[in-house]
Amino acid sequence: MLGGLNCLKRRDNWLAGSSVAGMVVGTVFIVIFASATVTMVDIVNKAQLAAQVELPDPEIILVSVVWDEVDTLTYTITNTGSEAVKIEHIFLSEDNADPFSCSTLTRTPSLTYIFPGETISAVEAGLGASPSRAFLVVFEYSSSVAVTT
């Protein structure tokens, strides 16, 4: 009789031990998988940052380019965009000549940056003949006008 009771008691201990061990192991697995899930979600969120990379998006237009009889070309440039643009990043060219930075010209006013809404004049001197067309590029934005006299 006592032997039977002891056997039942031992069996209950085994069952209780198994349950506790199962719970502990299960909890450990849940923690590991939860941690792995959180890490993966974090990595996926980081991967989404590529879409949030903000590149320079300037909008600078050539309002006019006027040829003067004293062999000078006057560029009128306006920032119609929403961000300030460094003048040295603005490149001009006439017809098929090599482009040059706007910062190499005499400018009025003599700014380092052109802010949204601002207009500047830049004068190029010493040209032999009037070009027919002028072209402006700043990053991925370009503008072009016919040269007037």
């Binding site: 069996r11 198994s18 993966m40 989404q48 930075s101 990053f139």
Partner: protein
Amino acid sequence: MGDGPSELIMLTTGLIVAALVSGLLLSTWDTMSQGLEKQGEQEIKNAKTRASLVSDPSAISWDNTADEAFIFVQNSGKISLNIDSTYIFLDGNGMTVTPIDAVGVTWSTGVVVKFKIESLTDLTFAADTPYFLSVGVSSLSYSPVGTHSFTEVVRLDVS
């Protein structure tokens, strides 16, 4: 009598199987995470790597005798580029690209580099004909290398 040990065996077996399956799952999970991480880093790098044509696409001088032209390209991205990694195709023809007046390989944001492009084979282009100009650039930094390419229709001023 036999219930205790048999449950222990079952529990141990269950734990071993669970550990093996979990290890496999976690390994797969880790591989996926690494893949996503690398892909994300690559996409961010590519997004920051940009370049644009500064030369007037309506009038690019091309010398039919020397088979060469000069192209101006601006780094319009957010990170420095490697000048020596630039490649240019004109009308599908791979060009030999030589940077002019460039010091070193670092190509900072906003800077314009003049490239001499020449063909090793004899090419004859016609004036007033549109051609495709493709330019590819790579970031200066590694791990990973950002890449960008663009294609523009250009008109050649043939001489």
